[in-house]
Symmetry: C2
């Protein structure tokens, strides 16, 4: 186990109807907030009105900024920063999924940043300060409700970059599984793929002596794979959504990756797809992950046998480790397919013409200085291209 | 899954040598602190000098209060409160195990409490405020480094009561497995029994639909049972201690019990033993827990079959559930015995003469108003006495 710092300060307020308490919950933090939302679904569902009613009841003033889209855009972030400065906002409440929360985090640090906030995404330099962020989660997927991470798309440059800081960890997140009942099935599937990937990126490691976190990762993965089909069969299944929602937070609050060298190769490769083709992040991950496994597993076959046995339930002769691993990967592909996720880049509408460009952007080779991605196996642009080709 | 709030804000700074950074780590929190310690072992080991050197290097002033004993005493707490008030202390740094940390928490809230702080232990009433507490953990056991819980013994009244508040959750805890190398074997054994009990108290529940937290509990238990014998065989086994230390924090920061009705019967029954006989908490738990299991398992046999199979690795015919459960309990007893823990009250030096008195104190029957203990099965004083008799 490597040295680590674990810090997950978000207060998770979980369960039916908790969003109606948002005013009372935020009162210790702020008198005036930015209410940040996505498209029209929170208004259609009545959630927006319930939130504003609760804020008003508690005497919390708000200014509103809606319009966050999937793969949240830098231009709206700029607008939010100006609005917060002008209005003297003290906290940003994101009501939505990962995109809305990520946009809120970008605004939260932009308010105190001297310059264009895109610079921190591009350079990774440390920020000093950010407005507090709170969330009401409407899609379990990104884990952004407890993480310090944010991913923003610079639409002009066709770049999608992530950034992380403890200053961006939400102070409070409401999670009511009933808010997930009206999601389209595709968002369930994409969300599950994303949550599983958050665990995979931490699970697949060359670090030794990781009993506790191995087991935590495996439990989260088994929980997701057990409950996702239940929610798909009945989108009003409270208990299934409760497991998915809580598992999504545990998957990405940092815990299950502590003391491990993490991977993040698939996330890096997927960001290139989303930046250019605007595909759903989870769908991209579902396509890439099995291909990545096939490409890298021989570098640490024990880790992948463990995955196949402990997570995918493969039994058989452990004398043929390759067969065990391949069966584990086959079962993962089957699970993704049964959830309705795509199995290839072509199913995502991605042709072969820009694969090399994306591979070179992914590792930085396109910009003159290559930084291979991936912790378990270092992937250079040729490796990334090979993986894209494996799943084309 | 029931509604819940999860809040575990402690920053866990984990790994070799991290205690030498304590000054730098505390600088954002305080200019003057109380350095709170137990007996002489932190001075003998050189840890105390390293901590004060780090504080001095960072320009943090400190006043010292040592002398916390196992089952920490109210009288020292009173002394600490006076000292903090007089010296204008801004944070309490506990360097030690659970007893030192619990004492620090009592002082931290006592500084702001108008009256004798023992009142909050007796009445359970909510506190408004406490000084921040930080810790350098020297014994993995109580989980107090991340929990909001504190247990104090009122030596005059021979009472040992617990209290909990989010205001008491440490802001920062340093955990260096190397600090555990010099512990006596008995403290390893007691600590493991305590950590396992923190999970048991949350695991054994009648709440349904608890996939994620079931799995988290089982993982923590398996990790503890795998690594404790390794540390016993080699008290310098860094990796084993790392697993035990981190598992101890996860066992008691709240996570594994979220959304479940918890039990806490064994802890309540054990506090009576410690209050009168001053036995080690973990040793008392190791004696009581298997007896408690035998007494209650038929009230939720499925839960105990799950324990036997998923945690204790029992295989066989599930047609005879009682046999599966009894084999699980037998294996738990065997594990405790192999760790060198006692198997009966008589081995703890506890005779039969005060069992009824303790049973009646445990449920409050002795004080005129009975509140049965235990979430899985409500235990009245006759039940508690029956369990004491089962393990006498």
């Amino acid at each position: 186990m490597n040295n680590f710092t674990f810090y997950a300060p978000a207060r998770i307020v979980f369960g039916k109807g908790q969003e109606d308490r948002i005013g009372e919950l935020l009162k210790p933090y702020a008198k005036k907030i930015l209410l940040h939302t996505g498209g029209g679904s929170v208004k259609k569902s009545g959630l927006y009105d319930r939130v504003t009613a609760s804020l008003e009841k508690s005497g919390i003033e708000y200014v509103a900024l809606s319009g966050v889209r999937p793969n949240p855009r830098l231009s709206l972030v700029h607008e939010g920063i100006e609005l917060c400065k002008r209005e003297g906002v003290e906290l940003i409440l994101a009501v939505g999924g990962g995109s809305v929360i990520d946009s809120a985090k970008a605004i939260a640090m932009g308010v105190y940043y001297d310059g264009d906030i895109w610079e921190v995404y591009e350079t990774g330099k440390a920020i000093e300060k950010a407005l507090p962020v709170a969330t009401i989660l409407t899609i379990p997927a990104a884990g952004s409700e407890s993480s310090g991470d944010t991913v923003i798309t610079n639409e002009e440059k066709q770049l999608k970059y992530g950034y992380g800081s403890d200053h961006l960890r939400p102070v409070l997140s409401v999670m009511d599984p009933e808010l997930f009942f009206t999601l389209p099935e595709s968002q369930l599937a994409n969300g599950v793929a994303d949550m599983m990937s958050h665990v995979f990126e931490r699970y697949f490691t060359n670090t030794k002596n990781t009993d506790l976190t191995d087991g935590l990762c495996e439990t989260v993965l088994r929980t997701l794979m057990k409950n996702a089909p239940k929610a798909k069969a009945n989108m009003q299944d409270y208990d299934a959504w409760a497991e998915l929602g809580f598992a999504g937070t545990v998957a990405h609050n940092g815990l299950v990756g502590m003391g491990r060298v993490q991977d993040w190769g698939c996330h890096n490769m997927e960001h290139e797809l989303s930046a250019i083709y605007d595909v759903a992040h989870g769908a991209g991950l579902a396509v890439l992950t099995p291909g990545w496994m096939e490409y890298v597993y021989r570098d640490n076959i024990g880790m992948f046998v463990q995955f196949a046995v402990n997570v995918m339930g493969v039994r058989g002769s452990y004398r043929d480790e390759d067969a065990i691993v391949m069966e584990g990967i086959a079962r993962l592909r089957k699970f993704f397919r049964e959830m309705g996720l795509p199995g290839s880049l072509s199913e995502l509408g991605i042709g072969e013409d820009r694969l090399e460009e994306m591979a070179k952007k992914c590792t930085g080779a396109a910009f003159g200085e290559e930084h291979p991605v991936g912790g378990l196996k270092k992937l250079y642009w040729q490796d990334v291209l090979a993986i894209y080709n494996l799943v084309k």
